[in-house]
């Protein structure tokens, strides 16, 4: 398996995730797009590790950091969504924009 194919898979996942994060209105759906993008990072990091520097652990550490980032993103995202919803009964990002005033 070549590195290029894995990177292409990562690019495809990133593009799909980006589309979701940009086009969706629900907070939860946007988070799903973000998760797909982090998934792409995981694939790319693991492939780089295997094909370019398998003797060093850095690639694996990067995968672990990406997994952690995903967990953190989800926990804080849901907490913020809960807080916004509780404060103003809003679950769509378009409506949450008026938080600025």
């Amino acid at each position: 398996m070549s590195l290029e194919l894995f990177l292409l898979l990562a690019a495809a996942l990133l593009a799909v995730g980006l589309y979701g994060a940009l086009s969706q209105q629900g907070v939860v759906m946007i988070m799903m797009g973000l998760e797909l993008m982090v998934n792409a990072v995981i694939v790319a990091a693991a492939a780089f590790w295997f094909h370019l520097s398998a003797d060093r652990p850095d690639g694996q550490v990067l995968v672990l950091v990406a997994i952690t980032a995903m967990a953190v993103e989800m926990a804080v995202g849901f907490a913020v969504a809960t807080a916004i919803f509780r404060a103003r009964d809003v679950d769509m990002v378009d409506s949450a924009a008026d938080l600025r005033d």
């Binding site: 898979l9 996942l13 969706q24 939860v28 799903m32 797009g33 995981i42 967990a71």
Partner: protein, 188 residues
């Protein structure tokens, strides 16, 4: 040959499931499509990239995460079961254009960049090298990740809870036993 088949199945499965996330009406199906996408990547990482620990960890974590996500989906989305289809999107065309452009740019980069020739062979036990790195040369990463996770737990609870100490112990904090919604868990 066998590896190629596994890769194609996992790659097509992961991307197709990822696309399905934004195509299906039912939120439950969207959540589990995302989970399928993660499981396909996990299997690819596990079988093709020799990372047995990280591959299984991705599957383990994502199942739990997606189940928690399913709860919030149903709590916050207007139409969780998708029984009356409705569009919850904005600027679909623009988003599509941006993501296609990003993919094209990345794909071009992938084929144009002269990647170095294959490096060293993987160690006999990648899990051990990861553990040794986290507890040795990359200790700082472990420390930061631990602190970030702890801070996340505290922040998420603070943000999400609506009951503070004044609800539990009264306005002057003089109530002896906390007024908790659930009683008799550990003998209160």
């Amino acid at each position: 040959m066998g590896e190629m088949v596994v890769f194609m199945v996992c790659a097509v499965g992961a991307v197709a499931a990822g696309i399905a996330v934004f195509r299906v009406d039912s939120m439950a199906r969207a959540t589990f499509a995302l989970l399928a996408s993660f499981v396909f990547t996990g299997v690819a990482v596990l079988l093709l990239l020799d990372l047995s620990y990280l591959g299984v960890l991705i599957i383990l974590m994502m199942v739990m995460e997606m189940l928690v996500m399913a709860v919030f989906m149903i709590m916050y989305m207007m139409n969780p079961a998708g029984l009356t289809p409705m569009a919850m999107v904005h600027n679909r065309r623009g988003a599509l254009a941006v993501s296609v452009a990003v993919f094209t740019a990345l794909a071009a980069g992938i084929w144009l960049v002269p990647w170095p020739e294959a490096g060293a062979a993987p160690p006999p036990d990648p899990t051990e090298s990861l553990g040794a790195a986290l507890m040795g040369s990359h200790m700082l990463v472990m420390v930061v990740v631990g602190m970030v996770l702890f801070a996340t737990m505290v922040a998420a609870v603070v943000l999400a809870t609506d009951r503070g100490r004044y609800d539990r112990y009264g306005d002057d904090l003089r109530r002896g036993a906390a007024d908790a919604p659930v009683r008799k868990g550990v003998g209160r």
